[in-house]
């Protein structure tokens, strides 16, 4: 690893950090610095990708100490896929943010110039934290990274400065903090039992009460952070009331950090038994149903999208649970695909929802129509993202659901297939509410020769949503990347 200097793993974490510092120091140039930093990070990730493809899993012992004394960074296919996806989404959302925070008008909350200046440092810190989580191989480091993410995410959630956003942001802060502290206590229990902090230390540890307590704590904490039903209470308001680019980052990326750590724990584990897995599946089912029903009842577009996040998170938990203990080495792939699919689609969808709200001035679903001024492209992006989230072919979401159901069926777990189907039906129902609204014009009195909402700002959501659909065709290569370095052992 010493031939490349400095190593791309550290760069993937530190480049956004330097970007955040620069953007904080020079608020006026923040957008340019931010985009530059994201591109630079993407370049580092590309180099990293090259190395991973060549060498499989890469470890970097920071400080030269190596685990267990020092902290190691670890990059394999799963991490690489997440890194690449995160960079992609950050780029898309960043470009979307250029437009979202343009202008000088103050809309109820913070003035735009200020939001523009503060979005970038926070976004880049978030990126630092996310990349740090993906590359981390150390439990305590994961906790610290989660806190970096938490604070940046809270800052993003309250960027708009409205009372609703602040209230939701505070509730989010508390939930996130509690989750992190549970994780911390869990780390304490792990240390009590094994005397080590690196994930590899978990692998050889014998089953014991302390480790069970540790896993229990970490599971609950991470479930709280990923808004697993019934610990989802904070998510809908926080995601719905943030400004669109912030919502996109929160929904697409932040919740994935917890899921990713869960995957890594499952990989390193002695993972808790069948009962816990089943419980995760049951709670995931609850999330799928409850999130779906609430999305059906939501009155605002962004709230609908936020509730759909709850439902989709539930589906990912079902994916983890679906094959039972012995199938875990396989089911993580479905979960990873669903994570990727949801991230891209949700980023595009929130950006699109934000554009729609910006152009027509509100996002009440019952009053959506084909008004004279309409954001046609944003609506197209919303529809494309919905296709992926519903899981219609050939989208990436479809591939994820296909792998989930295929595995569940092979394992004879038809109930998980039924849950997936039910979730799909619910998502059809709630997204149709919005899509129907885009197409109706029986109430429009304005002249029909409409102005089509062309704007450069529509490009990021359209591209992201298009990718969410189109990446399904690249599922083969994506799976190949995920299997690099064979996380979860050999390919069956």
């Amino acid at each position: 690893m010493t031939d490349v200097m400095p190593d791309p793993l550290t760069l993937a974490i530190l480049l956004p950090l330097f970007g955040a510092i620069a953007a904080f120091l020079l608020p006026r140039a923040a957008p340019a610095i931010g985009l530059g930093a994201v591109v630079a990070t993407a370049a580092a990730i590309a180099v990293l990708g090259h190395l991973v493809v060549q060498a499989g899993t890469i470890f970097v012992p920071l400080g030269g100490w190596g685990a267990p004394l020092g902290i190691e960074l670890r990059a394999d296919g799963l991490a690489l896929a997440m890194l690449g996806l995160t960079a992609l989404i950050a780029l898309g959302v960043g470009l979307g943010a250029l437009a979202a925070f343009a202008g000088e008008t103050e809309v109820g909350g913070q003035p735009m110039a200020r939001q523009r200046a503060f979005f970038w440092p926070l976004c880049l810190l978030l990126l630092t934290g996310m990349n740090g989580v993906y590359l981390s191989n150390d439990l305590f480091n994961l906790y610290v990274m989660l806190e970096v993410i938490s604070l940046a995410a809270v800052g993003l959630a309250v960027l708009g400065g409205t009372v609703a956003a602040l209230r939701a942001g505070l509730a989010y802060m508390y939930a996130s903090l509690l989750g992190a502290l549970m994780m911390l206590l869990g780390v304490g229990f792990v240390y009590l039992q094994t005397g080590r902090l690196d994930l590899a230390g978990l692998a050889g540890a014998p089953d014991s009460a302390a480790l069970s307590a540790a896993f229990g704590l970490m599971l609950v904490g991470l479930a709280l952070k990923t808004a697993l039903f019934p610990l989802h209470f904070w998510l809908p308001e926080a995601h719905a009331n943030a400004t669109a680019p912030a919502s996109a980052l929160l929904s697409a990326l932040v919740v994935k950090a917890g899921l990713y750590i869960l995957l890594r724990l499952a990989e390193a584990g002695p993972f808790p038994g069948e009962a816990i897995l089943t419980l995760m599946g049951v709670l995931g089912t609850g999330a799928v149903l409850w999130g779906g029903v609430q999305a059906l009842r939501a009155e605002r577009l962004k709230l609908l999208v936020a509730w759909s996040t709850v439902a989709q998170m539930g589906l990912i938990f079902v994916a983890l649970a679906r094959a039972g203990l012995e199938g875990l080495s396989d089911s993580w792939r479905a979960a990873a695909l669903l994570i990727l699919a949801h991230a891209v689609a949700k980023a595009g969808m929130f950006l699109a929802a934000g554009r729609i709200k910006d152009v027509i001035g509100h996002d009440r679903i019952s009053e959506l129509d084909r008004s004279a001024v309409r954001p046609a492209l944003a609506q197209l992006a919303f529809a494309l993202a919905a296709i992926s989230l519903i899981g219609l072919p050939p989208s990436l979401g479809f591939i994820g659901k296909w792998s989930l159901m295929e595995g569940a069926m092979m394992a004879g777990n038809w109930h998980w297939v039924a849950v997936t189907m039910a979730g799909t039906l619910l998502s059809v129902a709630y997204f149709t509410r919005a899509l129907t609204g885009f197409l109706r014009f029986d109430r429009v009195r304005a002249p029909l020769d409409e102005h089509r909402g062309w704007a450069l700002a529509d490009a990021p959501p359209v591209v992201l949503a298009g990718l969410a659909v189109g990446l399904g065709l690249a599922a083969g290569p994506i799976l190949a990347v995920l299997d690099l370095g064979t996380p979860f052992g050999a390919i069956p």
């Binding site: 400095p6 480091n141 240390y191």
Partner: protein
Amino acid sequence: MTVLLAFDLLLAASIVGLAAATLLMRDAFAMIVAFIVFGMLLALGWARLVAPDVALAEVAIGAGLSGALLLRTLAHLRGGGLSAQGGASVSAPTNGATQGINALLAGLATCALGLAYLGAPQNVPGLEAHVTDAMPESGVTHPVTAVLLNFRAYDTLMEVVVLLAAVIVVWQVERGLAETPAPALGTVYQGFARVALPVAVIAGGYLLWIGAEAPGGAFQAGAVLGAVAVLGLLSRHVRPAPAHRPLARGTFVAGTAIFALVALGVSGAGRETFEYPPAHAKTLILLIEAMVTVSIAATLAALFHGREPVTVATGKETT
């Protein structure tokens, strides 16, 4: 030995009792005071467990600065004063049933954790042997500092990043907030500040320097210096103005930036990131610690002050 054990039992019981009392206090001011006292006792407990660094950090940051932050917020909520009769009440009725169920669940979970704790093996060898082995190459002689600034320097960098994130978010949130009229503290306090602040600055520097070989270090020193700045803010010796903003921003990021730059800078030629050349390890660690101390002090003071300084005259701000 049994006397000490009894003392430990008493102290532990007081810590738990104070934690309970903190939550049960009806008045918010009393609650915060109880929390600060809890922090003091906790530090004592940590001293008993031979963790002086942690005890120092807890007193300075956990109890001290957190307490100051809490009190400042309470003053804001109550319209300038700390007594309950001024301004809005902070207590709200709670749903008894929900509270009961939650408490029950939390209690059960705690009992389960307690059982797991008792079931855990005692004195599992941790990483102390590794630390002892690596100490000669670490550049410092105090193990905690070695862990913080060398073995697990990456964590520490990220911890400073968390502080940076906090101050960014606080500045972002608190825009144009009406300034709470600072309490007039009178001449006695001013006199005290004149004497105490320079000495405290020296104490901070001492803590930083001694950290290499004895309990102390960047965080404790930063906390002391931060407290100096807080006292300065209170006594109006320090008055943040819009013109200070670039300087303030620079100070906030200096620690993080230098830390990360050093980490990257030492890499290459066969060395990993964060792998200081043995000959310069102590110098580099001291450099990092010094910058981090300054940043921590400034950041903590800014967290206490809250608002980003803006031109008050027009109420308009320029970013």
